[in-house]
Amino acid sequence: MDYKFDRRAFLKGAATCSLAATGLNLVDGMDPLGIMGGAWAADARPLIAVAKNGAPAQMARASVMAVGGMGRYVKKGDVVVVKPNIGWDRTPELAANTNPDVVKEVVKMCLEAGAKKVRVMDRTCNDPRRCYKRSGIADAVESIGDPAVTVEHIDERRFVTLPIKKGGSLESWTFCQDMLDADRLINVPIAKHHNAARLTMSLKNIMGCLGGNRGNIHHDLDGNIAALNTVMKFDLIVMDAVRVLTANGPQGGKTKDVKVLNTVVAGTDPVAVDAFGATLFGITANDVPHVMNAARLGLGVADLAKIKIKTIDLG
């Protein structure tokens, strides 16, 4: 079976245009509103938005507004899958899962943009029911009370094997079909420490879209994360850095390891978002091998000088 989706073809086209634009070295300033990242902008630099010092929901909204508003990514009648990190049986203050208020706000924005259906799901590490519940994400999203929104457990039947042509040691892996089938796929990771990958942000969050025994990916984690991201792509990233885990990640367990940064980052370039994310921990993309690998595979821009960063201070 050939899994080709408009969304992906669209992104591919966008990337090509982006490259072309880079080649032409178009001047900055042709996008006075500064809202046009990627292909459509005259400024070829990828755009990310960083909202700071507000309430989590407020920051999520402000960051998405700054990259063009949800209407740019979600069209009327779209089926959207929102993919937070709900990996662990941990409460929000331990910063092991995406902040529930950020997830809720992203879902609300999708509805406002006219989404027909918004599905929230992740393939967890601990028992899925406990993770959904104790992360606060299920309750937060369900509190919207809209029948168009569903918090779903991953349907273990619905995984498809896709070839991995570029990078890494894997030849193929199974991916969640519900996510592939969605009109729009929104990545809502949390930025946190990870003992193997150094940090886990938007690129590493793809782990929750995968089937099978994911432990096997860890044999060459840095190469495989980048390679897996060449197969499945996200239309928008809204990264939670409200609280970040600075040690003992990805699971944590102590508030002592948690740092409050009150930041939310939005963008479409996963490498750019993660490269910025690294700076929140006092390091750079160069210190996070999987981000550099992803940049090498052409998944985005890691050099902060070549990224356009819009900062919104809500404080």
Binding site: D89, N126, R129, H153, R158, N195, H219, N248
Partner: protein, 511 residues
Amino acid sequence: MQNLRRASQWLVFLVFVFLFLNTEYKDNDVLAYAVNIFLRLDPLVAGAAVLAGRAVITLVWPALVVVGLTLILGRFFCGWFCPLGSVLDFTSATVFRKLKRRTQVPESWRRAKYLLLAFLFASSLFTLQFVFLLDPISIIIRSFTAAVYPAMNYVINSTLGPLYATPVAPVTEPVYGFLQRHFLAFEQPHFRMAGLIGFIFFGILAAEYFQRRFWCRNLCPLGAMLGLLGRSGIVKRRVSEPDCISCGRCERDCRMGAVEKDFFTTGRADCIDCMDCRAVCPEDAISFTGGVAAKGAGLDLSRRGVLTSLAIGAAAVPLFGSEAYRKSADPSLIRPPGALAEDEFLARCTRCGECMRVCIANGLQPSLFEAGLPGLWSPVLAPRIGYCEYNCTLCGQVCPTGAIKRLPLEEKKKVKLGLAEVDRDHCLPWKGDSECIVCEEHCPTDKKAIRLRDETVVTMYGETRSFKRPYVDEGLCVGCGICETKCPLTDRSAIFVTSRGESRADAPMLM
């Protein structure tokens, strides 16, 4: 009255099924219902646990209610309440509806249940508890948990499940979704010995072929106990002699064979107050009331038989007590968090399977012979199958006899089930094959019990490389086993838990 009895059987069975289905994590750390109530109402379980465990167990107080009611009403429990009895009646009324039973089961077989009861009494008195093998409530919950329910899940998951990708999906998926929400387990359960446990259960059902209520008449030690308690109860079957036309229908229709050939005399230890005879009597000559004038048959029990059983029960204690496991315990005997010390634990555990049913990761499994034959089917954590969820306290909440203590979460997190150990000859980074860190990542303790050290290794190709190798901090490890469950190797895990260092051990840990 007969209809009232049927209604009671259905109602109780539906409550039983409802509680069974709710013996599962439902987005709440504390279970909403007393799902173990059937076991706590069971005087046989209560008696054996108290006797063998040498302890007053307040959890089982509801059993006193059943004892009290039995003293008044006789063996009503079996006819009106027992879920296994109801399943047997249902089996006879459906599967064997048209069967003409030709085989005659000898009357003397009835004695077996008293002899079994005597055996269980004597062995329990000397701390060896074998009640688990024969207690009907334990049997039905254990069988549902380990065999019937997983099999039901398996059938539905493997028939309706794959249809999602076919044109009939619009019909089957809503049905499947409904079943998943209300009847199926969150994940397909898997249990060791499911086949054997299920075989015994269906064997008990199949015995209806020989006789209605074959199990209850001949074998059930709870029935024997309640029969003995209730034989001089106040409410009894009475036949009005002037009205009786000796048609014999009451004798023929009695599901327990409790009506003697004279139609007046009732085997009181066997009458379960089902009131069928009252319903079939064409002259309305039969009543179930209090009073004096009623003929009861004596117990057909020889003193010698009872004494022999008591002696066997007592003799079983030293026989099993000298089994080898008592000298050197199996290292894979990892008990649930909050389990009592081994002897006390086995004295109380009735192998009902409640803890295995509720175990969120399917990690608690019926033991094989890790704890010898007397420990058969008792819960052990099998970490390669499933681990103990760090923030979960459900097994302690459902144990009906307190064999597993109900611990507050903070206390439970401190309980050591055992200790993890890295198999350095098998572990990928230890061998220099590749990076991994999966065990460390999943280790749930606040300060990681599994920690990584960057170490230089010469690989089999002669390259010098650096790998993150896992080490276990034995002071922090709680033996939850998630590392063993999640180890990505496809054969045996390269990190494994044994019972070494478990909290409940009497002896100090040998490092």
